[in-house]
């Protein structure tokens, strides 16, 4: 199975993205990271650590579960209900710049759900999007502001992100159709 990104590549991408966030926002003022459960959360935490290393400033990190906002859950084809996990955003997002963090950007529907969920928590000044992998095939007009790696794929393939915190290893795999 082809490895698209290994641990070192992931690490370098996150360092680069941290710098891009700082450059784009001219610092960390009123900025907070919100990871989309599940794998967006450790990525957000790593980015926060990178930002702190660079600026020596603390940055707030939250976790967002978008299950209750999914548009495929209650629609035409109902499958198993995904497990609902807790959303933890222990700070006000009003007037802040929120950097939303997810592992893979595909159809854009997860991001759409995340935007809906976030706006239920308040009115951020702006929302930016970080993804580790952009694999294309958008179904909604959504674009990432920071991308770890663009990976051209076919719809039959699947992209699997493994992270140390959850999977014991850092790697991004591209799996062909079964």
């Amino acid at each position: 199975m082809p490895v698209v990104m290994d641990a070192e590549r992931i690490s370098r991408a996150l360092t680069r993205i941290a710098h891009e966030i700082l450059e784009h926002n001219r610092g960390l003022a009123d900025l907070a990271l919100v990871g989309v459960r599940r794998r967006g959360v450790p990525i957000a935490q790593r980015l926060a650590a990178e930002l702190t290393t660079i600026t020596r400033e603390e940055v707030a990190v939250g976790a967002l579960d978008i299950t209750l906002y999914r548009d495929d859950l209650m629609g035409a084809s109902v499958g198993l209900a995904p497990l609902v996990r807790k959303t933890e955003i222990p700070f006000s997002i009003d007037g802040r710049t929120i950097v939303l963090v997810d592992d893979v950007l595909y159809t854009g529907r997860t991001t759409r759900a995340a935007l809906d969920a976030l706006t239920d928590f308040g009115r951020p000044k702006s929302i930016q999007l970080v993804v580790l992998v952009d694999r294309g095939h958008r179904e909604l007009p959504i674009k990432a502001d920071y991308v770890g790696k663009n990976v051209p794929t076919s719809r039959q393939e699947s992209v699997q992100v493994h992270l140390r915190e959850l999977d014991g290893v850092d790697e991004v795999l591209l799996q062909g159709k079964a």
Partner: protein
């Protein structure tokens, strides 16, 4: 792999749930509780779904709790309250249900005075049936919210001593709680006057006593059950005063339990009958937490049933 869905289409009773399904409901309720703490306490999950609250018995607490849970999940809710008296001269439960069914609800939340009414509807309706209390049989969401509240306070259920005191004979709350708590490994003691103890409790894995001091000694949780005035008229005990002096939960009795004991009651409470006001309002009481947690637990149940594998989609 962790369980992500219930194995049933209906919630008829705790009897049908496995321990991992119970834990799934409680875990899901954890997430749902967070929704209730937001400024905007509403998620779009059940948008476009119709939930009918069909109540044949008066109920403020349970019905409003379900209604809030449904609204927080963005379901379209419809309350149908039917006084038992009009059923006597009017249409049967089956006819009522089939009429409502024609409106394509996703779920019917049923409260009914007859045990097994939910089973009857589950055999004739396409909608998922949620038991909101059927006669003296079960009240599963009450037991789930009780378990949620205990777990929230104690971090676990297994190994806790839970003393349940009150009318054991007529209580659906008792049946559901005994089933749930024993499935999750709690040590359950039940206590009542001998006239209010149903047969078969020891076979359900609980310790039965008529001595309240023995029931509460060293307890982690004391759960009180409501005593209804008509039970006294039915000759189950001589007077409310005698009941309170023999079985009422007083501060002196609470002192025999663990120092961090929690006091629970499904409500509505009869002050000075089964529980002293000082206990109901005291530091150990979690009675109002139970009410708040009821919404989260019912959201979890509605969500899990709506997404269940067997659930028919209603366009």
């Amino acid at each position: 792999m962790a369980l992500t869905a219930l194995r049933q289409k209906h919630l008829l009773g705790i009897a049908d749930l496995s321990p991992d399904e119970i834990v799934l409901v409680l875990d899901t309720a954890d997430a749902m509780k967070e929704v209730g703490q937001r400024t905007i306490k509403k998620v779009p999950t059940l948008r476009g779904r119709t939930v009918i609250n069909l109540f044949f018995e008066p109920s403020t607490r349970t019905r409003t709790s379900f209604e809030i849970a449904e609204k927080r999940l963005s379901a379209d809710t419809l309350n149908v309250a039917i006084a038992s008296s009009s059923v006597v001269k009017g249409e049967t439960l089956v006819d009522t249900a089939m009429n409502l069914e024609a409106m394509s609800p996703s779920m019917i939340v049923l409260r009914h005075a007859s045990a097994g009414a939910c089973h009857l509807l589950s055999r004739i309706c396409k909608a998922s049936i949620v038991n909101a209390g059927d006669g003296m049989h079960e009240h599963p969401t009450q037991a789930l919210l009780d378990a949620f509240t205990i777990r929230e306070r104690k971090g676990r259920l297994a190994g806790l001593k839970v003393a349940i005191v009150g009318d054991l004979l007529h209580s659906r709350v008792l049946r559901s709680n005994v089933l749930l708590l024993t499935k999750l490994g709690a040590e359950v003691w039940v206590c009542a006057p001998a006239t209010l103890i149903p047969p078969g409790l020891p076979q359900m894995g609980v310790r039965v006593t008529t001595r309240v001091d023995e029931a509460v000694a060293g307890a982690d949780v004391i759960m009180m059950l409501r005593i209804q005035l008509e039970r006294m008229q039915g000759g189950f005990f001589p007077s409310l005063r005698e009941y309170f002096t023999t079985f009422g939960m007083t501060e002196a009795r609470v002192a025999r339990a663990k120092p961090d004991v929690i006091i629970m009651h499904p409500g509505p409470i009869n002050r000075g009958v089964e529980i002293a006001s000082e206990v109901a309002d005291g530091a150990h009481s979690v009675i109002l937490d139970q009410v708040a947690n009821g919404v989260a637990v019912r959201m979890a149940v509605l969500y899990l049933l709506a997404g269940g594998a067997d659930n028919e989609t209603v366009a």
